[in-house]
Symmetry: D2
Subunit: 405 residues, 4 copies
């Protein structure tokens, strides 16, 4: 009996070969293309998949959901992986996998396939979601199948197989590194980048100019937040305002961030499978928002809430990176964070200039900043002598310390 | 009987008035000037204190110790206060206070005084150390004494008192904000900066040029580390090399960092006494090192060590900020961090350009990066099928979740 | 003008003297008696306060709210202070203080007083709540007022003052330690207990028999939970069932727990004001529930949720102990915990025997225990070979460790 | 060529069959018997292995090292797995595995085998250590090998194979559960215990009497610690003293703990492979020490150190349970804990009575308990009015909270 299979399809060489190979193995393949904002001709990709023999091709526009349910909630936590990475790919994968799982459940598909390799993180992010949400799923990951691995030992084998099977190959010349792209970021790894001493070539970057190429004039923006969600961006240079549409807001921040060289990082990171790898990421809009959140948060959140969030953030970052977006511990951590978001209201004014996000000022109806109390010139209902007792009792436990050396 | 008193003296208007006032109260005052790298004419300050009536003036050169025992250990932890502040003032205070406590213990002085206000953090950082290390200490903090507060209600009273008592006043015109400076940073707060919407004036900054003023050419550096300590800086532009002298290395990074606009932040922060305040900080050399450590660490440290360190860092940042440098919990956290430093060897190459610290490459004998295993082109003794079982067992606990929804 | 003042009144010697003293100072005092389950004749206490001169006496029955909104939520977190103390007094204080704050706000009272000393924790628990919720509150804590402290240097002064002012004194002979009591626990401290080597006298305990005095027969109970809340207790010895009334359930557990010697601890603990003190606590019902929650939780909660909760618990314990029940960080931690409670359904069967709570079995509709998968005799849809890859990839990051010397 | 193989051998049915099977596969097998305090006739086990065909049999007495380098360091952290389990088996496995790895490295053995199943935790604890310390190791875990699993589908197959191969079988009748035993604990799981509602049979327990069977008289002990290590135990009932020999001390505590019914738990726990299982543990000596450490610690450690340790403990517990004893993150956590141990000096007096460990008093030269300051009857150099300022400034951040809705 022919088994129905759902394949995460990108339109590229790898998943096109995999599509053909799966069909050759007897599966009835539905190709699932998730539009998470990558630079792709989806019509052409669909045509290609159908030409190769896909039974059906689904193009799912996930961009709005990606921003509202994945990118923004993650940015609200302040999570970074290994202190720097804003998790662009890590956030897109559970979304795509969940969309596929939902489709598979609705269409009674039990076989799911993807083109991720056995060394990377994406396989985990896909498969954990498939395994969690689809009872009795069988996962076909050709890059972990002995037969496939033997047949395809390098790019040449893929190209030959494509040629033999009339699979159209768009790029005759492959980039000397691999790219993953979505609305949040573009990432680069592998190939020449596998040497951690090598500075990436300037012409690699797709989303951002370099600081050297960026304009000589600072771009000034105001970003307004409502309960933790960006509501409006005002561009003070061109007097433009983007509001009420989160996707439009995020896309605008990407555009101006990219022009002003915001959000590039180069990092040797730790994959969940246990090895180190080197990645280059450019996250222009996400970086601007990350900085804006940081600035607003310390004005409206209590210091102990700030501390708790900062302690939770690295754990959240690791969970997202490792593929545990839908895990119960993630749910617990996100719930805790949600409590803090209701007071994230107000606006941050910032300048973008050659790679810098420069905070220019901020304002919030929930500000805990009390000018009179903070002021060094006024008493503001603050009794300075209270500090005496405060310090003496804080010192009390330190006094008898025989602990130190 | 005349009581001996040790005063933290800066040479400025406040502590000069305090010095005179303490003498008028009958104390025999030793003025303690700590050189932590601030821009100050120490000879002149000493002469001034003696002229006012100090029994003795101690100038303690603390710069080497400040770098080696405070700045570098703090940078090794990755600690930031409220996600951004590198803790320049917070690190200098316990050093000064400890030096004073040591002097007081040696010279049998039981009265210690400082000029910090009752609203700020510095009073705590001073007094916790005095209280912890000097048995039976009496702390005189005039800005928390009713009599002093009544006598001096503003700057005019201080100036009049100075005039009446022949205390020389250097600056006739006060800055519209207050400044604290040391080797690690210059900080600005109070006055006009008390409006969190106000962008600080361009001419305020002492240690850094703005990104707009910085050179058009990138400066390329290589920083070498040995067991977590910067050993050598190579400036590839002028072919200069600074090595083996931590103070010289740090000062050089300050210099080139400042020229290239590195390390400015503007933050509304939470003071330990319970209020929010707004601070502007410029930490050029510290920022460069912070980024260099971050880069090297993810290559040589295990991912779970990286996570633990990232979870500890916000707590360490709060402890330093709040004045608990010498607390037992700080000792415990620093000890844990020390374990990780022995593998922080190698070098980071980076570019400084108009506010950006751009990572260009890195290298370490302790690198956990294994090219063959990481490579997407080689198997490198890695069996891709292992990932199947790895993922399936990681998913096992997620499958039966009735937790979600 | 006569100022209205609200006094936390217990009916005992201290607060009776304070009541009189406050009246003598010209305040119009309302005495506030919170019934949190202490063994007290409230009618008599009311009559006494009125006789002393209180303008009004409020008796607030807080027992139901104490169980449902304080005791149970705390037990749901698993929080213990310093690994052992179930926080009986710490939980009652914010309730009492909040009730008083609400009353003060409604009746436009700006002066609040309590009889807690300046060395203890209770002053903090009261005052933090007063200060947080009542704008422009003035707190009168006589045990921190110089005048009061001078007048009353010991118990004899209090007794003399009582005699002189016709304040009836019930107990002629004071216990050689002080007692605090409520529905959750009875605590003992001070006096002879200030010697940490002294074993407390057997006749001290009010809520529990000692293990030596307890019955020779085990009492068997089943406790049923619904969304984290105890719904029903079945006593298998006397076939009695208590259900749907949380206060009745908790009281029953107190009764049978007390009879069977459950829940005594003796601990040297750290007060928030900076000193160590020694406390003895007996928490029979709370201890039974704590053990029952622990048992059910590991069956129905995911292991990473269990870990997160266990990491949060000590922090929650410290916050409760220190008086931060209504702080924003507490709210964040409690919100995170709430996520886990919806699956705390099912029942735990346990035996009470001479100080032991012996788990006899458990059952839950949300159990994550899967007999077939767990079984060593069945495969249960588990592929043992998956473990190979799981372990190999978990080991991968450990292999190249140059970390270990 | 014949390959040398090192097998973790217990003398029981499973590993005897595995030994024979490995020999039949052509390996030259050295049987490694680790004496970690289990109740076993090691001579007989050796003879049996040789009779089956082992090339060599190593009996490694690991008891002293087990106590000093595994049990005590773990108890010093206060770590429990899932709030209750003292980790007896989890601590023995890395010791055994490390001893085997050392032997293998010395004797150039590349093949290591064990008899743990593919569903449990022990396979991980063995294999992580083998993989970390032995380059190019090949692990043979028959219970995860298809061929072996097909051949041996149940106990009957093992018994038949034993009979066919002249393998002596000691117990004709198997227990209806499986047992693991060492110096620290005896554990019971599987078989009839796989029903989490079933109360374990009374005759199951090997190390402890039940509370009902225990003596009617309390046994009083004093345990003395030096830098965190138990130095001396005084039995006040029989006036016996055990000192200077950690193994003797621990064994004595096991003996008296067992007699007095100390240290039984029954828990549904989370295995690292992703499933829940049910285990019964009895840890008499470990439980007594755990309680003694807890008691002494809160008297000699600073409250923030206590909090940090309590936050780290659950993570340490999970790492030990999951097999990461030799991981770098474990090393970091243990190093932090070590800082606290130098002040763990003094003695704890406690009573053992029918399952209870009753704290009777404690004493330490490092006590932070200051009678005069703690006393409610004395001022002890404590100014009660300091508490006013302390509380007011602690409340300051709470006052403007718009956070609470």
């Amino acid at each position: 009996m022919t088994q129905k299979l759902l394949l995460a399809y990108s339109g590229g060489l790898d998943t096109s070969v995999i599509l053909k190979w799966l069909i050759s193995k007897g599966y009835e393949v539905t190709a699932f293309i998730a539009d998470v904002g990558q630079d792709e001709d989806f019509k052409q990709a669909k045509a290609k998949a159908l030409a190769i023999g896909a039974k059906e091709v689904i193009i799912a526009d996930c961009k709005e959901e990606f921003v509202s349910d994945y990118i923004i909630p993650a940015l609200q936590t302040g999570a970074l992986y290994e202190n720097r990475y804003l998790l662009g790919t890590s956030l897109a994968r559970p979304l795509i996998a969940k969309k596929m799982a939902d489709y598979a459940l609705t269409h009674n598909i039990k076989y799911l396939a993807h083109g991720a390799t056995g060394k990377g993180n994406d396989q985990i992010r896909f498969e954990l979601v498939f395994l969690q949400f689809i009872p009795d799923v069988t996962i076909i990951a050709p890059w972990k199948e002995a037969e496939f691995l033997e047949k395809f030992t390098g790019r040449t084998d893929l190209l030959n197989y494509a040629k033999d099977n009339n699979i159209p190959v768009t790029s005759t010349l492959a980039k000397p590194y691999s790219i993953d792209e979505n609305l949040m970021h573009t990432s680069y790894e592998a190939g020449i980048l596998e040497d951690p001493e090598l500075t990436p070539p300037d012409d690699m970057y797709k989303k951002t100019l370099s600081p050297m190429e960026a304009p000589d004039e600072m771009l000034t923006l105001t970003i307004e937040f409502n309960k933790g969600i960006p509501l409006k961006v005002t561009d003070h240079n061109n007097k433009q305002t983007i509001e009420h549409n989160l996707l439009a807001i995020f896309s605008y921040l990407n555009e101006v961030g990219g022009k002003n060289a915001i959000g590039r990082i180069d990092i040797v990171e730790s994959r969940f499978v246990g090895m180190k790898s080197r990645g280059i990421y450019e996250t222009p809009g996400g970086t601007i928002l990350h900085k804006a959140y940081q600035d607003l948060e310390t004005m409206v959140l209590d210091r102990e809430v700030i501390l708790l969030r900062a302690i939770n953030a690295p754990k959240i970052g690791q969970l997202i990176y490792n593929g545990f977006w839908f895990s119960p511990e993630m749910q617990m951590l996100m719930q805790a964070n949600q409590v803090s978001q209701k007071s994230i209201n107000g606006s941050v004014k910032l300048g973008l200039y050659k790679g810098n996000v420069i905070i220019l000022g901020r304002n919030s109806p929930n500000s805990l900043y009390d000018h009179d109390i903070a002021s060094m010139d006024k008493l503001g209902n603050y009794d300075q002598t209270d500090a005496k007792g405060f310090i003496k009792l804080n010192a009390l436990r330190l006094k008898p310390q025989k602990f130190i050396n």
